[in-house]
Every structure is written in structure tokens, then in C-alpha cells.
């Protein structure tokens, strides 16, 4: 009986899987058919097959790998710096009154600002190379991480810290072994917010400053009215974004196996 029940479950889940992937298949097929129907020009919507061909050509020519690595380097370097600096700043703010007094208004004003507007100023200061692109990513990604760290630390139960202290933990030990692990779910949520931002900013700064990368390649194609190139870059960027965000969710599950949080956070 249990075998038939599990069989039924397998059939049901595979049915749902089929239905889910069919939405994507229908979308892709619809793209191809609509582009070939003659209702739109090749410029407005090149057929999927032509776009895939172009992605393939990029892949063989080595452009795809180079541009992807450049964009990933800029986005992830900035993201990692923002992660370390953001968590450190959050801890500092929660530990000392003076730094809280100083940083609290700056963060509450800076967080909702569209920081991308500062891009020309960053260019003025640091030029158009990787330094300014990475600085821009750090500047944009650090705010959600700081606020998440602060909220996470605020939510740590006082009893946990007291008992660690009671058992003779030093200040440093209490932070590393009690406060940060207990605040980790919130901090990871902050990182999950910051990662897509890092990617958005890396791509925008590549579009405005040039210097290859997926965003740069996309804008070059756009300048030459090469719409196949634009859509190929869009496809590549979609895949990169998907892999990064999924990877982050996996990392979260790995890091929080000990935590009560039963499964992955509800994003969709």
C-alpha cells in the first residue's frame, strides 16, 4: 500500500514538474514562433534560435567566458568587501554608543537613497576602471547588510549572551561564538538582498563606463544596433543571475542546517 502511495506521489510531483517546466517551454517556443511569424522585425525580436546561435558563437570565441568572469569578478569582489565591512560595521554599531550615534542617521538616510546616482562622482574620483566599478558595488551593497546585521543582533536572546558570559566567555568569544551565529539567519537574508543589487550595479557601471563584461558587451551591441547581441547578453545575464541567486540560497541552507528554519526562505 505504501508503495502505491509513493508511486502516486511520484506521479503527482512529476506532473507538477512537467506543468512547471512547460510554462518555460511555452514561453521559449512562443518567443521563437512570434519572432518568425513576421509580425515583428528581426530587429525588435530576433528568434530564439538566432540568439542561441549567437551565444554559442560567443562561447566558442571565448568572449562569453571572459565577459562573464569580468562581471562576476566585479560583482563578487564588491559583494565580499561589502559583506565583511557591513557585518563589521553592524557589530561595531551595536557595541559602542558613539558609533551608533554617528552611523545611525547616516545609514537611515543612506539606505533608501538611489546610490546609483552617485556613479558619475565615483567615476570622477576613481576613473573608469575596476576600482570605481567595485567601489560602486560596495557602496550600494553594504547598506542592506549593515541593517540586517543590526536587526539580527538586536534579535539575539539576552539569555544566550548572559549564559555565555556566565560560563566565562570573553567579549570576543561571545561575539564570534554566540552573537554572530544567532544573528546569522538575518545576516544571510541581508546578503541575499545585497547579492542581486551587486549584480545590478556591476552591470549598470559596465554599461556606463565600458570595459567589457556582460553589461559592456550588451551596450556595445546596442550601440551598433545589433539586437541579436543584446538579446544574447540578456540570456547570458539571466543565467548568471539565476545561478548566483540559487547558489546563495543553497549556501544558506548549508550554513543553517543546525537552525530551526525548516526549509529555504519563501522567495517565490
Amino acid at each position: 500500500m505504501s508503495a502505491s502511495a509513493s508511486l502516486a506521489r511520484v506521479v503527482a510531483t512529476s506532473g507538477v514538474l512537467l506543468a512547471r517546466s512547460s510554462a518555460i517551454i511555452v514561453l521559449l517556443a512562443g518567443w521563437e514562433l512570434f519572432a518568425r511569424s513576421g509580425k515583428v522585425t528581426m530587429f525588435v525580436l530576433p528568434p530564439l534560435s538566432a540568439v542561441v546561435e549567437r551565444v554559442w558563437a560567443d562561447a566558442i570565441g571565448g568572449d562569453l567566458l571572459r565577459n562573464t568572469l569580468l562581471t562576476l569578478y566585479r560583482a563578487l569582489a564588491g559583494f565580499l568587501i561589502a559583506a565583511v565591512a557591513g557585518v563589521a560595521l553592524g557589530v561595531l554599531i551595536m557595541r559602542s554608543k558613539i558609533s551608533r550615534w554617528f552611523f545611525d542617521p547616516i545609514i537611515s538616510v543612506g539606505f533608501p537613497m538611489p546610490k546609483i546616482a552617485f556613479l558619475p562622482i565615483i567615476v570622477l574620483w576613481f576613473g573608469v576602471y575596476d576600482l570605481s566599478k567595485i567601489s560602486m558595488v560596495v557602496f550600494d551593497a553594504v547598506f542592506p547588510i549593515v541593517t540586517a546585521t543590526i536587526i539580527g543582533i538586536q534579535g539575539v536572546e539576552r539569555e544566550l549572551i548572559w549564559s555565555a558570559r556566565g560560563m566565562g566567555a570573553s567579549d570576543r568569544e561571545a561575539i564570534w561564538q554566540v552573537v554572530l551565529p544567532a544573528a546569522l539567519p538575518r545576516i544571510l537574508t541581508g546578503l541575499q538582498v545585497a547579492l542581486p543589487i551587486a549584480l545590478i550595479v556591476a552591470i549598470v557601471s559596465e554599461m556606463t563606463m565600458g570595459g567589457y563584461g556582460l553589461g559592456g558587451a550588451m551596450l556595445t551591441a546596442s550601440r551598433f544596433s545589433n539586437s541579436r547581441g543584446v538579446f544574447a547578453a540578456l540570456l547570458e545575464i539571466t543565467v548568471v543571475g539565476y545561478v548566483l541567486v540559487k547558489g546563495m540560497a543553497l549556501l544558506r541552507r548549508r550554513l543553517l542546517v543546525w537552525h530551526a528554519e525548516a526549509d529555504s526562505p519563501a522567495t517565490a
Binding site: 533608501p112 538611489p114 552617485f118 558619475p120 551596450l219 546596442s222 543584446v230 540578456l234 539565476y242 519563501a266
Partner: protein
């Protein structure tokens, strides 16, 4: 925080003073960091010349239309996804694929479709902001209390009545959170698309001033954009607090 509100913002004042001092004392070159007072002067000149306001209106118009459309369609879609399973099965995988897409990658695509004007920016903001709103509405509506739905049905409410009177209000907190994310995103997309391709708007003005080397003006417009974004978020939060007062009771 118990600090008096005036005292609270002293650090910002300190930063402003440091800025002014750094460029007046030539710690930083006045090209790279024009004194705050000359930035303020440039701001007033930009308003008097009639440069700032028309561009700001153009930007805000794009933002408002794009965001408005995304809120309208996004919340309807999200609530239907939570309410009706077939919609969920069809739409959820699409949401899952497009959610991680860095929305700035859509800038050249919307330009190909709709050109350099208002329409491409509105489409960009609409597409970019739609997903956070949809996900907020979906998560909120999914969490609505089954017992409330059953009792509404038991009292003879029709499907749409239940959707409107029970599911939508209980989706509100998460939905409003999603809209806040969308609001921030709309400014990011607006400014970056205007900096990359456009003929008017605040982002365009920043680019033009920077290219002409009038950095005081550029700083002035950058700060204007930053504070419009900040002000919009604050205003939104105030409205939300009023709208959700029933929840606290």
C-alpha cells in the same frame, strides 16, 4: 532611540562641515569635491535657469506611471497566484527565473522595443518593479487565515467578495513591503536608464553636467536625486503606518 531629533542628525551636519572644510582647505581638489556651499549655489542656479524642474518632472512622471502599473498588475497577479493553483503552476516558474535577473540588463532591450523616450523607461520600471510587488502579494495572500476565509464563505460571501474583503487586506502588510522594495528599485532603474540612454530627465542632466565639467551642478543634481529617493521612501513609510493602523488594534 531617545536622543532628541535635532541631536540625532548632528553626524550628518558634521559630515557636511567636513566636506566644506576639505575642499576649502584644499585637502581635496575643488574639482573632485566642490565645496558644499557652491553646490548649493549651483542648485539654485539650476532652478532659476529652468533646468532642474522640467527634468525632475520628466523623471517623476516616468517613475510614477511605471511604478503605478506594476503595483496594479503585480498585486492582482500575486493574489491570483496564491488563490488559484493553476495560475501559480504557470506563473511561479517564470517568476523564479526572472526574479534573479539583474533588471538593469533590460535597459538596452526596452530601448530596442520602444526607443529613447518616455515609453522605454516606463516599460523598464514596470517590468523591474512588477516582480517584487507580485512576490509580496503572493506571500501575503498565501498567509491569509483559512478560518477567516471559511467563515466569510459560511456567511455567504462570493469568491470575489472573499478575495476583496478577506484575502486582500490580509495580504496588505507583505504587499506593502514588496511595494517599498519596488519603490527603491524604480529610482535605481530610472536614474541608470536615464544616465545610459535618454534625452531628458535627472539622470540625463547629471550626465550632461558631468560631461561639461560643471561639477558643482552635477553634485547638486546627484544630491537632489538622492534626497528625492529618500523623501519618497519616508513619505511612503508614513502612509503605510497610517494605512496599517487597523492591524495594531
Amino acid at each position: 532611540m531617545t536622543v532628541a531629533p535635532v541631536l540625532r542628525y548632528v553626524p550628518l551636519l558634521l559630515l557636511a562641515l567636513c566636506w566644506e572644510a576639505a575642499s576649502r582647505l584644499h585637502v581635496a581638489s575643488s574639482l573632485a569635491l566642490p565645496p558644499l556651499t557652491s553646490v548649493a549655489q549651483a542648485w539654485i542656479e539650476l532652478i532659476e535657469d529652468g533646468e532642474l524642474l522640467p527634468n525632475a518632472m520628466a523623471s517623476l512622471y516616468r517613475c510614477a506611471v511605471g511604478l503605478g502599473l506594476s503595483i496594479l498588475l503585480g498585486s492582482i497577479l500575486g493574489i491570483f497566484m496564491a488563490w488559484w493553483r493553476p495560475v501559480n503552476i504557470v506563473v511561479a516558474p517564470l517568476v523564479e527565473i526572472f526574479y534573479p535577473l539583474p533588471k538593469s540588463a533590460l535597459i538596452p532591450v526596452t530601448v530596442i522595443w520602444l526607443g529613447f523616450g518616455d515609453a522605454s523607461k516606463i516599460l523598464l520600471i514596470f517590468l523591474g518593479c512588477m516582480l517584487p510587488v507580485t512576490i509580496g502579494a503572493f506571500n501575503g495572500a498565501r498567509g491569509s487565515d483559512r478560518a477567516l476565509v471559511w467563515s466569510a464563505r459560511g456567511m455567504g460571501a462570493g469568491e470575489f467578495r472573499v478575495l476583496w474583503d478577506v484575502v486582500t487586506p490580509s495580504a496588505m502588510p507583505e504587499l506593502l513591503n514588496g511595494i517599498r522594495t519596488a519603490l527603491a528599485l524604480s529610482f535605481i532603474l530610472l536614474v541608470s536608464s536615464e544616465m545610459i540612454v535618454s534625452q531628458e530627465g535627472l539622470g540625463h542632466l547629471i550626465g550632461v553636467l558631468g560631461a561639461n565639467g560643471s561639477y558643482e551642478g552635477m553634485f547638486a543634481v546627484v544630491l537632489t536625486v538622492a534626497f528625492i529617493g529618500y523623501g519618497a521612501d519616508r513619505a511612503y513609510q508614513a502612509i503605510v503606518r497610517r494605512a496599517l493602523r487597523w492591524q495594531l488594534q
